[in-house]
């Protein structure tokens, strides 16, 4: 692989070569076509039982339902904002299910599907987007770090964590590894390049999982890069691979292989999951201002869930009862998410002063006391009326 050839192909902004699917030399790993037909790749053999595939289908459908419900809750004023994962379910479920229980994941703020795979209660995500907390879960419990909102910062945290794994002697047989999620926009951040450098020179056991959903709010990929993103890894000295991000099989297989390599001490890999943000950047965004409806229509044909359904039907692996069962489970989950969101209490005002330091400082104690007395004065006034 040489960057020059691809660079030449993809240099012009708006070049069709940029998306890697229209004649560029960028290779896309795909194990399940949009039509639901199984494809093979010699580097990524994947054997899945019917039950495993049904499990993946269930994951995909349930995380989409959480997402749909959260968008509705935001529209009804129950969440301040929501960052939809619509269209990226396969990238997240495929990679999330490739992780072992001891692996550590560092998400950005859109990784609801990975959170689901790690066993995090979706309510914790709603807490954040409702404004009840800034996250609040224990990263160690599910080995799933807190959502990081500043773009790309978490790539360094993940790399440092991986350096800790090395210092714990936990690389090699039975090793541990880290996966870190970020988007195409984040690849322009200095922190991401620094993380690539650190991971490379220290050979840290970390997998960089970039969901290239083509859009960074309103900015298209060509504003971030003149070459396919996965090819950047070469310049940093480790392998990069592009996978069909709407293909849950391929995302699973490619991530499994990269994580295993990291665990065994072979260092980092960059995975570019080539996908599409079907919805808005967040519920505050209006993508009709900057992208064509025809683009969305084209990607709808590559839907990550439909192709698994088509495969299950085509192979006779699942019957109507299965699909109805998952739908019904999704409905229940949706209702549970909605109810729990509506019942979620606001934090107490004094929570503002908590968890700033290991022990409250005298300054914070005194500000807390003063504010409590101030609030109390209203109660006294009310009572006196």
């Amino acid at each position: 692989m040489t960057v020059d050839a691809d660079g030449a192909v993809t240099a012009a902004p708006g070049s069709p070569g940029l998306d890697g699917q229209q004649g560029s030399r960028a290779e896309l790993i795909q194990l399940l076509t949009p039509e639901g037909e199984r494809a093979e790749h010699s580097d990524y053999p994947l054997e899945l039982s019917a039950d495993e595939i049904k499990g993946l289908y269930r994951d995909l459908l349930l995380v989409r339902r959480i997402d749909t419900e959260a968008i509705a809750l935001q529209r009804q004023g129950e969440l301040g904002i929501w960052a939809s994962l619509l269209g990226q379910e396969a990238a997240q479920v495929g990679s999330g299910r490739a992780l072992g229980p001891r692996d550590m994941a560092f998400p950005t703020y859109r990784e609801h599907g990975v959170a689901w795979c790690r066993g995090l209660d979706p309510m914790k995500l709603l807490e954040l987007f409702r404004g009840v907390s800034h996250g609040g879960w224990d990263p160690a419990e599910h080995r799933f770090h807190l959502y990081t909102i500043v773009i790309g910062s978490q790539t360094l945290h993940a790399t440092g964590y991986a350096m800790g794994i090395q210092r714990d002697g936990a690389v090699g047989e039975d090793g541990e590894a880290v996966i870190v999620y970020f988007g195409d926009g984040a690849t322009s951040q200095g922190d991401v390049s620094e993380a690539f450098i650190w991971a490379s020179v220290f050979n840290a056991p970390v997998v960089f999982f970039c969901q290239n959903n083509q859009w960074a709010i309103s900015e298209p990929l060509e504003r971030q890069s003149r070459i396919p993103l996965y090819q950047r890894a070469r310049g940093f000295g480790f392998p990069g691979v592009r996978v069909d991000g709407n293909d849950v099989f391929a995302c699973l297989a490619v991530t499994r292989k990269a994580m295993q390599a990291a665990r065994e001490g072979q260092g980092p890999t960059l995975i570019e999951a080539f996908t599409y943000r079907m919805g808005a950047h967040t519920t505050t965004d209006d993508p009709t201002r900057y992208r064509l409806a025809s683009e969305l229509e084209a990607w709808k044909l590559k839907d990550p869930i439909e192709r698994v359904k088509a495969y299950l039907v085509r192979t006779g692996s699942a019957d109507l009862a299965f699909f109805e069962g998952v739908e019904s489970e999704a409905d229940q989950l949706g209702r549970r998410v909605r109810r729990a969101c509506l019942e979620m209490p606001d934090p107490q005002p004094m929570a503002i002063f908590e968890n700033v330091y290991a022990e409250p400082t005298s300054l914070l104690r005194s500000e807390r006391e003063q504010y409590a007395a101030y609030l109390e004065s209203f109660t006294v006034e009310e009572a006196g009326r």
């Binding site: 907390s133 800034h134 996250g135 609040g136 879960w137 224990d138 990263p139 160690a140 770090h145 807190l146 990081t148 500043v150 910062s153 790539t155 360094l156 945290h157 993940a158 790399t159 440092g160 964590y161 991986a162 350096m163 800790g164 794994i165 090395q166 210092r167 714990d168 200095g190 922190d191 620094e194 993380a195 450098i197 650190w198 020179v201 908590e354 968890n355 700033v356 330091y357 290991a358 400082t361 005298s362 300054l363 914070l364």
Partner: protein, 327 residues
């Protein structure tokens, strides 16, 4: 007791921390074989290995960002930022990540990361090598900010900072690196002042002079010089800039009725402003004059041929002291 330079006292403190806790790591640019550009980490990589004393790539955000990850894994990283003016590339990681992870996790996560920053001027350096950015960090909740002023303080405070479960921004007065004083490196830290307490350097009755870092020596010298004029200056080394030891500050100002704050950092929005506001609020009826400040000007740090004009020296400190007697 051993006579040590401030640089060597820090070195001994770091050595103790590495010996006492296997989770302590040192990371930064040139901290390994070279021993740091000020030799603060001299010999540590040789004795503790390159997995614990890590020469990093040259990117400050990377140093702090990976330290955060190591802390999440249970380590206690001590980052060296080579010079004050190089900390800004790491500012985002410090302010938006390091300082906020405890709150973001509702207390599940601690960030025991110490960030050492040689600070201040007076060494004839080029641009970006003489700054005093402490107020930027004091303004950030979730960080502790401390500054050491002499070798004994440096030795104890660096160990206390590393042992602290909060992130600590640790300022080292670079023009005092070569100052020597007696340090007890044989005993433990049981007798050391807690990290968040201010320290009375010189007792006095007429005016309270608050300072920290490189200004501690300047202010102590000013107090000695003022004796010949019959003026008794109390010098207090704040040590902890966040949180401030307001108890000690208020008690002192209530005794003397006058207060001067001295720091190298620009006067505007500096720590002196914070101290003046709090002292005014809490000691109003004890004050004989406004709180005055002897600080750097509200300008960028000048070329080094002008730094003697910029840095508040003994005379400028005493000038501020004198002015408190004119109201």
């Amino acid at each position: 007791m051993t006579k040590l330079t401030l640089s060597k006292a820090l070195n001994e403190g770091l050595r103790k921390a590495l010996e006492n806790d296997a989770k302590v790591l040192i990371m930064g640019e040139d901290v390994g074989k070279l021993g740091g550009v000020f030799r603060v980490t001299d010999g540590l990589q040789k004795d503790f290995g390159d997995m614990r004393v890590v020469d990093t790539p040259l990117a400050e955000s990377g140093i702090v960002g990976t330290a955060i990850g190591l802390a999440l894994r249970g380590y206690r990283p001590v980052c060296e930022i080579q010079f004050d003016g190089f900390v800004y590339p790491a500012f985002d990681q410090i302010v938006s990540q390091l300082a906020k992870l405890r709150l973001r996790s509702l207390g599940h996560v601690s960030m025991p990361v110490t960030i050492r920053i040689p600070c201040g001027g007076g060494i004839g350096a080029v641009e970006h090598h003489s700054e005093s950015p402490e107020a930027l960090f004091v303004h950030t909740a979730g960080l502790r900010v401390v500054a050491c002023g002499d070798p004994a303080e440096a030795y104890a405070m660096i160990q206390q900072s590393i042992a602290c479960d909060d992130p600590v921004i640790f300022f080292e007065p670079k023009r005092r690196y070569w100052d020597k004083a007696e340090v007890d490196i044989a005993g433990g830290l049981a007798a050391a002042l807690p990290l968040e307490k201010a320290r009375t350097v010189i007792d006095g009755t007429d005016v309270t002079l608050l300072c920290y870092g490189p200004m501690v020596r300047t202010c102590a010298e000013a107090a000695v010089a003022a004796r010949s004029d019959g003026r008794s200056i109390e010098v207090i080394d704040l040590r902890s800039l966040s949180p401030l030891d307001t108890e000690t500050i208020f008690a002192a100002v209530r005794r003397t009725g006058r207060c001067v704050v001295a720091h190298e950092a620009p006067v505007t929005g500096g720590l002196g402003a914070e101290v003046a506001a709090r002292v005014t609020e809490e000691c109003f009826y004890h004050l004989e004059s406004p709180v005055l400040r002897a600080c750097g000007f509200s300008t960028p740090y000048p070329p080094s041929r002008l730094e003697d004009h910029y840095l508040p020296d003994l005379d400028r400190v005493l000038d501020a002291v004198d002015r408190t007697f004119t109201y």
